[in-house]
Symmetry: C2
Subunit: 359 residues, 2 copies
Amino acid sequence: MTKIALDVMGGDYAPDEMIQGALDAVDKNGGVSVTLLGDAQTVGAKLAGLKPGWENGGRLSLVDAPEVILTEEPPVAAIRSKKRSSIVMGMQMVKSGEADAFVSAGSSGAVLVGALSIVGRLKGVERPPLAPLIPTDRGVTLLVDCGANVDARASHLVQFAQMGSIYMENVVGVKNPRVAIVNVGAEEEKGNALVKETFPLLKACPGINFIGSIEAREIPHGGADVVVCEAFAGNIILKLYEGVGSTILSTLKSALTRDLRTKIGALLIKPALKDAMKVFDASQYGGAPLLGLNGLVVKSHGNSKRREICNSILQCVTFCEQGVNEKFKAGLLGGDGAGDSGLTQGQGAAGQTPAADSR
Amino acid sequence: MTKIALDVMGGDYAPDEMIQGALDAVDKNGGVSVTLLGDAQTVGAKLAGLKPGWENGGRLSLVDAPEVILTEEPPVAAIRSKKRSSIVMGMQMVKSGEADAFVSAGSSGAVLVGALSIVGRLKGVERPPLAPLIPTDRGVTLLVDCGANVDARASHLVQFAQMGSIYMENVVGVKNPRVAIVNVGAEEEKGNALVKETFPLLKACPGINFIGSIEAREIPHGGADVVVCEAFAGNIILKLYEGVGSTILSTLKSALTRDLRTKIGALLIKPALKDAMKVFDASQYGGAPLLGLNGLVVKSHGNSKRREICNSILQCVTFCEQGVNEKFKAGLLGGDGAGDSGLTQGQGAAGQTPAADSR
């Protein structure tokens, strides 16, 4: 049984969609139990209204977390002072082993700070990266790091590649995933200082299928399965994806409603269009895991609905069942016997601050 | 009369579309003369075939440039060895004053190296940035720098903001353009080391309308008129724009041709769709200028056709007529009497290498 703690108070559609997502997950997968963290009175009433017998033989439970961390609060202070918030309590449950994983659609900053300060890093991991799946016309690509570490070093990027590769293979099921580093050109001599330093380390790194540089243009075409970059670039990629996509779709929408002729046309193409655009809906894959923790923390998008929450929970189940953290340890410490991976270990994460609120 | 040198040999559609673009520009604007640089025999024959009397009273002329620099050639070596190439000859014409500006759709690397090593920088300019206009749903935004300088410093970004602002106001005609720095969050304390160092300098910089940080998500929505970043980030923005756009449009296209029903629908919406998507066509604005040179060099997209070439030429005319380089000098040297702009001058561009082939 995989035990998940769920933040019911975070996200634009909290608590209703969080509750629904949890109910769905417990229904879909008999091997998961979910602890809902939130205002017990409100959430309890909603659960009772939605589904009598919601406890599902104890697989769904409710723990009172009366405090709420708001998105606009400075994360470090919030984590320190709000001990009874769903985020702090969820992290504590992972730390103590009461839960295997914690899922939240709340404040990105608080989730990152809480994960690092309460759950802590796996031994050997320098900087846990945030790794969302982004849609491409060939499926999905893992983007590491999209916002956990500003001013990362080359050794961090090598670990991102290693952990991203293991995640993609074991959780998403892509065999021998192609790993690439984001660059401004395809040639090895291109790039800024960080990329030039990282490139040969990735080339020499055992256990990953490094295919070289990827230009941003090729990311939406699925040019790699794992795309490695520091968080400033990763955050630009993630947010520009959203921005360009929404701009084009809203332009398209207003064109389709221009007059009667286009409205009839729109009716005719609607089903085909809807199918096609499903490709770009990443919610089916769940949230963004923070890789390399003593446990698992998944940050769902701030606008997550039941589908994404349910999938975030199921994603955690796969992560735990596949023993991904054990594989991280083996991979990072050279446990596959393939020699020096170019890593320096245990340098501490003192400089790690969340790069972004990636909601 | 503004004198333009045009590289007829560079770009995917050279020489035909280049020749057509030059003919169009000379027709449209009586105040411009264009010198075509390319293989004189081939180009001369094409000109004679297209338009008897193509010389247009001497406003169109042809100079033999028998050598061609290929996109895949290492730029520094190519510029050094191919003295009779259209790129080197065009740069020489700008340097000597025979031409006011040079337009090329050829190798980005060679254009950047040639511009810096032959044309040279304006006094006081540290690193000339490449500044394309990118389409937004409110018009266009100037992206500085999209690929000329990797590992830029804060003082460089301040100059990008100053020159970008002057360019946007005088060439594109946006009054008091809003200048923003690309960042991972809207708050002043967010960002990597470079952004944190640059932010207060921009805030204190006279003569620009600095509005703070811009997240990548807001760029396609026209959140700023001038978007400042170092070239690695700029190159990601430019290329991801292309990548996401083309992925969505090709998905849309295949949805529209799925069956008879969608094909009829597609016919009905086609005119409206075409109008709407015109918003995202940046070719009407010409190419990307390299700002801060002793003259002007404009890099047109590698896939430029006659329309973009014509507009690149006309863009140079506006640049020269508005005396933009004089305004750069006045702005950068604090000529507007507004005091210290936080710049260090004349540090040399020894470290400047083209970040990318931005074709």
